[in-house]
Symmetry: C3
């Protein structure tokens, strides 16, 4: 398989063939993630979950994905007091840590750091986010979610009409998603943002060159009627020069039940990289949509577990052994209401 024994550092490393392989495996992970079955295929293996920048959800998602395959997780959170602060190179850190585990998932605040780390690692490294640069597993879980949501309606990725909404200038996740989408052609893609937060030209060109129909706009309503998938984003306030500047865009595009009913196709899929900002003056995706069947945001994070399980399984070459190490679930699953 393509991924066996390889790093996953960038969406640039990802081919259509790899996506197909990975998504097939991800789908086989569902019974384990949903606790219909247990697999212990990686019992005895250790993940080094090295988060040199804190991130509860991504860190826990990687860790649980590895646990769900039967493996153990050792981890770190935060940069301070680490050897890096004493002048150690990322090469050295990688040489040391790669002697401790079987595979590493790593997040680090500095762009390019994970790739630099990988040069010193003796084991496969997955980029869990390197600052403003890349977050390839998020892009993969986003594309996987689009794939699954369309499939549930009997549609294929070729039928996608996608509207990206909000802060398209700073959103690392929408940039990475655009890169993955550029592996396809002939899709309809609408990019709707305040003008000052428009998608960088680089990505617009990338999409156009791939042969997609790209439409750019700045009014919320322009992007809604034609979309079967709407990808809303949070204003990345921490990336603005000042809070004052950021405040100009707080609550600029709000999607709520009224707007959804009036402007969107029935059952249109709503995605969001999360966290969504639920404070009153931001509220880009209203809680009154929580019961809407099209709201896919929590299926999206659930899919993150499937995709990360698939990545671990493919990189460690155990994707065909899941059944061999399978058991029944002997505990009660979920809530009794």
């Amino acid at each position: 398989m393509k991924l066996k024994g390889q790093h996953l550092l960038s969406v640039k490393d990802i081919s259509l063939e790899l996506i197909e392989e990975l998504f097939n495996v991800a789908e086989t992970m569902r019974p384990y993630a949903e606790r219909q079955k247990v697999t212990r295929v990686l019992e005895g293996a250790v993940l080094g979950n090295m988060f040199f920048e804190p991130s509860t959800r991504t860190r826990v998602s990687f860790g649980c994905a590895f646990n769900l395959l039967g493996g153990e997780v050792r981890e770190t959170t935060g940069l301070s007091n680490s050897a890096l602060a004493k002048g150690e190179s990322l090469y050295d850190t990688a040489q040391v840590l790669s002697g401790y585990s079987d595979i590493i998932a790593m997040r680090h605040p500095q762009a390019g750091s994970v790739a630099e780390f990988a040069t010193g690692s003796r084991i496969p490294v997955i980029n869990g986010g390197d600052g403003p640069n890349e977050h390839p597993t998020q892009a993969l879980l986003d594309l996987f979610t689009i794939h699954q949501e369309l499939a549930h309606k009997g549609k294929k990725i070729e039928d996608l009409s996608l509207t990206l909404l909000g802060d398209l200038k700073h959103g690392r996740t929408v940039h990475s998603l655009c890169q993955l989408l550029s592996l396809y052609s002939g899709l309809k893609i609408q990019l709707i943002s305040p003008e000052a937060l428009a998608m960088p030209t680089k990505y617009i060109d990338m999409l156009s060159n791939a042969g997609h129909q790209v439409k750019v706009g700045s009014q919320l309503e322009e992007g809604l009627p034609q979309a079967n998938v709407i990808y809303q984003t949070r204003i990345q306030e921490e990336r603005f020069a000042s809070q004052k500047e950021a405040n100009r865009y707080r609550g600029y595009f709000r999607l709520n039940k009224r707007i959804y009913s009036e402007h969107c196709q029935p059952g249109a899929v709503i995605m969001h990289p999360l966290p969504r900002d639920s404070r009153n003056d931001a509220n880009e995706l209203d809680n009154d949509l929580n019961q809407e069947p099209g709201l896919a945001i929590f299926r999206q994070t659930d899919n993150g577990v499937l995709v990360r399980m698939a990545l671990f399984a493919c990189i460690l070459g155990v994707e065909d052994q899941l059944y061999q190490y399978e058991r029944n679930v002997n505990w009660h699953v979920g809530l009794n209401q």
Copy 2:
């Protein structure tokens, strides 16, 4: 069983029937916790140990309890940098995190936060402490300890004469314990504190209404002779308006060997929620009592593991399967002196 597939959010949810069920199961956990046997009943299950407020002992106690049942633990410590800080609602956080594991234990600095979180969770949530509000597993382990300590003397809970001592105004643990005790009736309960740190009327009334004989006092010696269980507390200095005010009560009630020998029944049980403040000017429970057989404070924390194991087992419905997944311990247990 009562607990299967349920949250445990508040002592208010706890009935006598549930206590009986839980304590019976807790007692069956002893051979596993004391390493006479290993059980792997939860192998493949994952606990989300979500401590949004740091707490070494409670966090590690929950985590070890789950490990002792064979399960895996993913965890987080602290609130900063988490999605909550970016305006995410507790509902969203719960939806996301509940897709990662089988059960969640959660601590959070804000009163009511764990219950709010539970509304968004798709899996059972155990309240590990929500700020000044509740800490139901502490109340349960306290009651379980009273139960066990009396049982070792051939006594029942009906024979309890309990003295609560110290900062009864701020002590979350003594408030929760009073709520649990109100499920019973006819006990003797002495509430001894500096007047300014008296038990809130609400809890005194609750105990009286339940039919207990309640006595309130402000002198240490008044509470000691009649008690077969003494529950000493720490002055919760962090809860006072100023350190100066807190200092007025430092070392106000000190229990030491001399006082214990002079005023207490022989073998009277001494409990404390821990940590005890062993600094000279506080020292509410002197180290010269460390060899006293009645000192139950470390049996109390050991019991915390039993109670948390029982909660996990009952909520996940595996309390009858422990033996099936049982093995012998193949390593050396404890210290060779």
Copy 3:
């Protein structure tokens, strides 16, 4: 065995007999650490990895070592917010935490703290570093590395000519190594440092009294030609009275390819406790040595896992059961280049 059911608190507790036992077991750990085999000998056991002072590499090394034996790890990082900050004694902390796991590895910023903790522990405690005082597992992995590197050349520890280089005043690791070396006699030991950072007389006397040939110098080149093992250290800047004073020694002794080729024996072994400071003005061990076969610094950290696995196995008395719990590795190991 010597170690069964015992604490490991100080290099002073270590005898030649214990070293021999431990190193023999450490060597049997290699197939498990290098993923040729899996052993689950400690499945069901729990390590309390209590790092009251953060240290990514030592913490993760202990944790992975325990995972590689099949056990579970619960851990803590940092001192703040812990019960210790509320005036709890180390004795109490130990009583509580030792009710949660089977063995504890502990680091703490205060000299003597781990030994004090051990007095309250009901289970074995391994000192993972107590401030400026001791770090016995580092000393053991250093000695094990010397042993292995000489063995690969058909030499024994009796053939050692060791040069310790750099900040010999503050380096906890070189002090502990000298203590272990004093169990032997007749070795050649060169101590090369800036005069102000010389090895304390105590350790020089210890080495001399043991019957070693000790030579003290302050020029890099004096120490290189006769050595078959060179142990370079980092200037411990955080231990100086001021950064200004520390700066006087930054980059004072630099070992690079040119110096190594000119002054050292062919294939001379280079060790370093890591992290090495790779910033340009420090750079005590140049990256141009990274491909040099004699550079043992990453074999040294790999050996740390072997030594810690051996310690766990011997203290818990399972060193003869590894094979019984052995399995094949069913996943792909390492990188496909």
